[in-house]
């Protein structure tokens, strides 16, 4: 083989190696990077009333697990399941807008991710660490707050999701915090962690 042919073979092999390694690395999970933690819009002066007025929640605080997050509004996904917050870095919690606002009679439902894929831990990463009596505070759009106390923390298989207990009617203001948990299956989880909380106090 002449030096020219030899150089051609070696050069082609090197070029193929570079081409093969460079191609697919550009492909990654298509997620929306735009969402960031932002200051919630609140009214300038909270009114001095003792009962929440039914305004939507704008912020959620769970001091026992270091959660202080803005709250999005969530609806339904196209398949009829509850919509979940976007998978982004610094993800946020979301209030299911067909449930009562925190502080109103009924189960107010707030959801958050336990992990957000390549971004690591989600806002509700440590939800399962809550204990009975821990405080959960929802700040509302009108500046008022509703403070809840954890009543129960439960991990249930998704196949046995207790929709009746989560979404069913109750006779007082309650709160449900929901995320995923349990064993992992590929890119998901087999169970949900559900925190049941009841209103402890409401104020400006």
């Amino acid at each position: 083989m002449s030096p020219l042919s030899r150089r051609a073979v070696v050069g082609a092999a090197a070029a193929a190696l570079v081409t093969g390694c460079g191609g697919p690395t550009a492909a990654g999970p298509a997620v929306t990077p735009g969402a960031r933690r932002s200051a919630p819009r609140e009214s300038a002066a909270p009114r001095p009333a003792s009962r929440p007025s039914g305004a939507a929640p704008v912020r959620l605080l769970v001091p026992a697990i270091g959660v202080d997050t803005p709250v999005l509004r969530l609806g339904l996904a196209a398949d009829g399941t509850v919509e979940v917050p976007p998978v982004t870095a610094h993800d946020r919690a979301g209030w299911y807008r067909y449930s009562p606002p925190p502080g109103q009679v009924g189960p107010s439902v707030i959801l958050g991710h336990v992990t957000v894929g390549p971004y690591g831990d989600g806002v509700f990463r440590h939800l399962a660490r809550l204990h009975r009596g821990d405080a959960v505070t929802a700040r509302l759009a009108d500046g008022r707050t509703a403070e809840f106390a954890v009543r129960e923390v439960r991990t249930v298989a998704k196949a046995d999701f207790p929709a009746g207990e989560v979404y069913g009617d109750v006779d007082r203001p309650e709160l449900r915090l929901i995320t995923c948990g349990g064993p992992r299956t590929g890119d998901g989880y087999l169970a949900n962690v559900i925190v049941f909380a009841a209103l402890r106090a409401a104020g400006p």
Binding site: M1, G20, C21, L74, L76, Y98, L111, Y167, R184, D187
Partner: protein
């Protein structure tokens, strides 16, 4: 002449392998967040600004007979106006396992390309030495 033909064959084989490696990588399972479909629907997109919500259009399963546009928590009606179906999908596992899998495919593909090129080179040299 024969040398030229063998060199051409080696080049063609190398180029074929180079094209096949990215195809393998693309075909491997990816870690697409399962929430993408949910967030891709503009009408159901979450927003920062709380206010009067839009009327729910997709109603798969409701507690009441027919969801109304007016929120109602009165007696006889569900406090949750529209009960979602299934369990919430609020966890996308980390993609580290999938990434390392893709890297393995890339490394393996690169090694295969090098091995092919080396084999072609040796065959050419051996045939030339034996005068075949």
């Amino acid at each position: 002449m024969r040398r030229t033909v063998l060199s051409g064959l080696a080049l063609a084989g190398t180029a074929l392998l180079a094209g096949a490696v990215p195809a393998f990588a693309d075909a491997s399972p990816t870690q697409m967040p399962r929430t993408q479909a949910a967030t891709a629907v503009p009408s159901a997109a979450p927003s920062d600004a709380p206010g009067t919500g839009a009327t729910p259009s997709p109603v798969p399963r409701t507690r009441t007979a027919a969801p109304t546009a007016v929120p109602s928590t009165g007696p006889g009606r569900g406090q949750v106006r529209v009960v979602p179906s299934g369990a919430p999908d609020t966890g996308v596992a980390t993609a580290s396992a999938g990434d390392s899998g893709n890297s393995g495919v890339l490394v393996g593909g690169g090694a295969a390309v090098l091995a092919g090129a080396g084999t072609a080179f040796l065959v050419v040299r051996r045939r030339r030495a034996t005068g075949a």
